[in-house]
C-alpha cells in the first residue's frame, strides 16, 4: 500500500532527513498543588520513530504526553522549551488544539463521543470545519485502512472493546496527525485484541509514516514494534535498550503451596469439598440475543484458586455473575454453598465505590461486618494508602483503586472471592501487590474464582484452570498441565512474574 499524504497543508518530512518530531529542553512541570512531575527533562524523538515510554505509576507519563497536545495540557506551570514539529509551544499556544498531534487514551468506553461508528470517524473532521468532499475522502480512507467497512454503520454499543479502541485510533488518524501520542492504549484489551491494535499502530507508523509515542507499563508486548524506548523516572527521561524490555526466558513457576508439594497437593484438592458449581447452565441477556453460556459446567473445590480463561465474549464475566447468583440462568443448576459469605470484585472498581474518601470507603462496612480500626488500617498500610486516606477514590491511580476495592472486600471476611480481571490495566508493581494479597488470602484456605486474561497470573496463583470457549467449558485442568502444551496461551516471564517470584512484595 502506498503511504497516503500525511497532511495536505503540511509537507511530510522525508525519511532520509534527520528531523525531530519532539524536542524538549529543560522541561519542568509543576502542578498548582506544588507537585513537581517533570524536572528539567531533555527529550528528543526523531521523525518516524515508534517510541515506548515506561515508568512507574505517578512518574508523570500522562502529564508529559498531555503537554504534547496543548488542548489537553493540564493546569500548572510549564517551564523550559518544548517544540513539536518545529512548532514551539508558548504560553499563547496553551489550550489551542494542534491538529498535527493525535492523542488516544486508555479507556475506549469514555473516549467515544457519538452513537455510531461513521459519526465517530467524522466527529473530529466536523470539528475542524472540513468540507464535505475532503471529509468523505478521509472517512472512507481510514475506514478502508483499518478494515472498518464491515461495521461502519453499526452503533458504538454493538462493538467489542477492541473494535472501540480501533475506532478511537481511526478517528484520530482521520485528522491526519503527524505525531500520534497514546497513553496506555491497550490496558483495557485482552491479549489477542491487544495484538490487533498494536498491529494497526505499527501499520500507521510504518505505512503512513506517523511518529508514534506510547506510554505503557506492559512493554513486553510492544517491544517488537518499537524503534526506541525511554524510561521516565524522577521527572527525567532515560534512554533504554529495547532488548532490556523483552520478556525473559525463565520458566514461570507456581507460587501455590499445594502444587509445590507435588501430586499429593493436587490430590488433596480433588478430595476437597465442592463449594460452588454450575451444571449445564445456559444464559442469555435477551430473548433475541444468542446464548452467552451454553450448557456450561464448572466445579470449584473449597480452598482452591480457580481461574476462568478464554477470549472476549467467551462468557467469563457472565459465569462469575451466575455463580454469584446475580444472573438467573435460563436453564441448568447453580450451587453455591458460600453465597451468603461472598465478595465480588468487578472489572471496574468504580462500581464498588460509594463514599467520598478512601477512609470512608474502608470503614463503610465496618458496622455490618465488625472489623476493627487496626484491621482496616493494616490494609491501608499494606497497599500504601495510609497517606491518602482523605483522597477521593476516583483520584487514586488505577492500580490503587483496584487495591482499595480489594481491601474493602477482604475486610468483610468473605469465604468466597469472585474476581473479574483483577490485574487488568495495572503496572507490574501494582499487579504484584494485588496478586500477593490474593495469594495470601487463598493460602489461608479460602476459595477464589477469578476470570482473567493474564496467563502469568494464572500460572503463578491458580490451581485449577477452566478454559471457556463458545459459551462452554472446553476443559478444566491444573495450570501445569494446561501450559505444558500451548502455543498461544502462555505465561510470560515479565516484570510482574519477576516481582512475584522474587518475593519483593513479601519483603514490603
Amino acid at each position: 500500500m502506498q503511504p497516503i499524504d500525511i497532511n495536505s497543508t503540511q509537507t511530510k518530512p522525508s525519511s532520509s532527513e534527520k528531523y525531530s518530531a519532539i524536542c524538549a529542553h529543560d522541561l519542568s512541570f509543576l502542578y498548582p498543588d506544588g507537585t513537581q512531575v517533570l524536572n528539567k527533562l531533555n527529550w528528543e524523538v526523531s521523525a518516524g520513530a515508534f517510541q515506548l515510554i515506561v515508568g512507574d505509576t505517578g512518574s508523570g507519563k500522562s502529564t508529559l504526553l498531555r503537554c504534547l497536545q496543548p488542548a489537553l495540557t493540564p493546569v500548572g506551570t510549564l517551564t523550559g522549551s518544548l517544540s513539536v514539529w518545529d512548532e514551539i509551544y508558548t504560553d499563547a499556544s496553551h489550550g489551542v488544539f494542534n491538529p498535527r498531534v493525535g492523542y488516544v487514551s486508555q479507556s475506549p468506553e469514555s473516549q467515544l463521543v457519538c452513537d455510531s461508528v461513521w459519526h465517530e470517524l467524522a466527529f473530529g473532521l466536523e470539528n475542524l470545519g472540513t468540507d464535505q468532499a475532503t471529509m468523505r475522502k478521509r472517512v472512507a480512507e481510514v475506514a478502508h485502512f483499518f478494515g472498518i467497512e464491515a461495521w461502519f454503520n453499526k452503533r458504538i454499543d454493538e462493538l467489542s472493546g477492541g473494535q472501540k479502541q480501533i475506532v478511537c485510533l481511526a478517528s484520530m488518524v482521520a485528522l491526519r496527525p503527524q505525531l500520534m501520542v497514546l497513553d496506555e492504549p491497550t490496558a483495557q484489551l485482552d491479549p489477542v485484541v491487544e495484538k490487533n491494535f498494536l498491529h494497526a499502530l505499527f501499520r500507521i507508523n510504518r505505512e503512513l509514516g506517523i511518529t508514534v509515542v506510547v506510554a505503557t507499563h506492559n512493554p513486553e508486548t510492544m517491544v517488537d514494534y518499537a524503534t526506541s524506548a525511554v524510561r521516565l523516572t524522577e521527572g527525567a527521561v532515560v534512554p533504554l535498550d529495547l532488548a532490556d524490555l523483552k520478556a525473559g526466558e525463565q520458566p514461570v513457576l507456581s507460587l501455590r503451596s499445594s502444587t509445590q508439594n507435588g501430586s499429593q497437593g493436587v490430590g488433596a484438592l480433588e478430595d476437597a469439598l465442592e463449594v460452588v458449581s454450575a451444571h449445564n447452565v445456559s444464559v442469555r441477556y435477551s430473548q433475541s440475543s444468542s446464548l452467552v453460556l451454553d450448557e456450561c459446567c464448572i466445579s470449584v473445590r473449597k480452598g482452591s484458586l480457580h481461574a476462568l480463561i478464554g477470549g472476549n465474549g467467551a462468557g467469563k464475566t457472565t459465569l462469575l455473575k451466575t455463580l454469584a447468583g446475580v444472573i438467573k440462568p435460563l436453564s441448568g443448576r447453580v450451587k453455591n454453598t458460600l453465597k451468603a459469605k461472598q465478595a465480588y470484585l468487578p472489572q471496574n472498581p468504580k462500581a464498588l465505590f460509594v463514599c467520598d474518601s478512601v477512609s470512608e470507603e474502608l470503614t463503610e462496612w465496618q458496622e455490618a461486618c465488625g472489623y476493627t480500626f487496626d484491621e482496616w488500617m493494616a490494609w491501608a498500610k499494606r497497599f500504601g494508602l495510609e497517606s491518602q486516606l482523605e483522597v477521593h477514590p476516583y483520584d487514586l491511580s488505577g492500580g490503587q483503586q483496584q487495591q482499595l476495592a480489594l481491601a474493602k472486600l477482604l475486610l468483610t471476611n468473605p469465604e468466597l472471592l469472585l474476581l473479574d480481571e483483577p490485574t487488568k490495566g495495572l503496572d507490574a508493581h501494582a499487579a504484584a501487590v494485588l496478586a500477593d494479597a490474593i495469594l495470601s488470602y487463598a493460602e489461608a484456605g479460602n476459595t477464589v474464582v477469578v476470570a482473567t486474561h493474564d496467563m502469568t497470573f494464572v500460572q503463578l496463583l491458580a490451581d485449577q484452570v477452566t478454559l471457556l470457549f463458545n459459551g462452554q467449558d472446553a476443559l478444566t485442568m491444573t495450570p501445569q498441565e494446561f501450559f505444558a502444551d500451548t502455543i498461544f496461551y502462555e505465561p510470560c516471564d515479565n516484570a510482574f512474574a519477576r516481582l512475584m517470584s522474587g518475593g519483593v512484595c513479601a519483603e514490603e
Binding site: 473516549q111 467515544l112 470539528n127 464535505q132 462500581a351
Partner: protein
C-alpha cells in the same frame, strides 16, 4: 423498502409531516379512511401482519372509547337511534366519534410506520446543517442512555454479589439511592474523560462546525420531493374544499370527489413503492 431507505431523509420528513398535517386537517370520513388504510397497508408491507395487529389492538380499543364517549356526551344529530328518558342518542354523534378515533389511530400508525425508516441519524441529517450542536447532542444522548443503563445494572449486580457485607439488603430504598449516587459519580468521572477526548479531536477549533452528510440530495430525491410536494398541494386543496363542504351535523353528507383521488395516491404511494420493489425482486 430499499428505495425508501436510500431516499434522502428530507423527502421522508416532508412526506411524513405533510401526511400527518393533512390527516389532522381533513376531518371527513373518506379522507380519514384513505389515510388509515394507507398507513395500515404500509405497516403490514414493511413490518408484517403480526406486529401490525399487535400495535393496532390497543388503538382499536382507543377508537372505541372515543366513539362511545362522544356518543354518550354529545347529543346532536338528526338520525335518532334510541332514547333514554329525555336524552336522545344520534347516529351522527357516534360516527363523529368514530372518525375522531380513526384519525387519531391513523396518525399513530403513520408515526409507527416511519419510526423504523426515519432513524435519529436521518433526522439529524435534515436538521444538522441548521443546528450542528443539536445534531451532535442527539448523537451523544443516543450513546449515553444505553451506557447509563448498563452501568446502573452493573452497580446493582456488584452490590448484590457482595453478600459478605450483609448490611445493605436491610434498606433497599436507601441502597437504591446510594447506587444512584455511585452511577452519578461514575458518569461524571467518565464525562471528564469524554470532554478530554473531544478536545483531543479539535472540539471548538473551527469557528463553524460542518456536518458529515451521509445522504446526497440527488436527482431521484429531487424528483420524489417534487412529486410529494405536488401531491401534498393537490390533496391540500382538495381537503380544504371537501372539509368546507362537509358537515357531520345535523345530517352527514358524504360525497366522493375527484380530489379524493389525489389523497389516495398520496397515502398509498409508499405501499405502492414497496409492492413494486417486491415484484421486481420476484421476477
Amino acid at each position: 423498502m430499499r428505495f425508501l431507505e436510500h431516499l434522502h431523509p428530507l423527502v421522508l420528513v416532508v412526506y411524513m409531516a405533510g401526511v400527518l398535517v393533512l390527516s389532522m386537517l381533513s376531518l371527513e370520513p373518506i379522507s380519514i379512511a384513505l389515510s388509515l388504510c394507507g398507513a395500515c397497508s404500509f405497516g403490514v408491507l414493511t413490518r408484517g401482519w403480526r406486529p401490525m395487529l399487535q400495535f393496532v389492538r390497543w388503538q382499536l380499543v382507543c377508537v372505541g372509547v372515543i366513539a362511545v364517549a362522544n356518543f354518550l356526551l354529545s347529543s346532536t344529530g338528526s338520525t335518532e337511534l334510541f332514547r333514554i328518558g329525555m336524552r336522545a342518542f344520534y347516529l351522527e354523534s357516534l360516527l363523529f366519534g368514530l372518525c375522531m378515533g380513526a384519525l387519531l389511530m391513523a396518525v399513530m400508525v403513520w408515526f409507527w410506520d416511519f419510526a423504523s425508516l426515519l432513524t435519529s441519524e436521518k433526522v439529524e441529517t435534515v436538521f444538522g446543517n441548521r443546528a450542528p450542536t443539536l445534531a451532535i447532542m442527539i448523537s451523544m444522548i443516543g450513546r449515553l442512555i444505553p451506557q447509563f443503563v448498563r452501568q446502573g445494572h452493573e452497580i446493582d449486580e456488584v452490590h448484590q454479589a457482595c453478600s459478605a457485607a450483609s448490611a445493605q439488603r436491610s434498606q433497599p430504598l436507601q441502597a437504591q439511592f446510594r447506587h444512584l449516587s455511585v452511577l452519578a459519580g461514575w458518569t461524571l468521572e467518565d464525562s471528564l474523560e469524554t470532554a478530554y477526548a473531544m478536545k483531543a479531536r479539535g472540539w471548538g477549533y473551527a469557528p463553524v462546525r460542518t456536518t458529515y452528510k451521509r445522504f446526497v440530495f440527488g436527482r431521484t430525491d429531487a424528483l420524489c420531493l417534487g412529486v410529494v410536494v405536488a401531491l401534498l398541494g393537490l390533496s391540500g386543496v382538495g381537503a380544504l374544499l371537501n372539509v368546507s363542504s362537509f358537515h357531520f351535523y345535523p345530517v352527514m353528507n358524504v360525497s366522493p370527489s375527484m380530489w379524493h383521488v389525489w389523497s389516495a395516491v398520496l397515502f398509498f404511494a409508499p405501499s405502492f413503492v414497496v409492492i413494486k420493489e417486491r415484484c421486481a425482486c420476484n421476477r
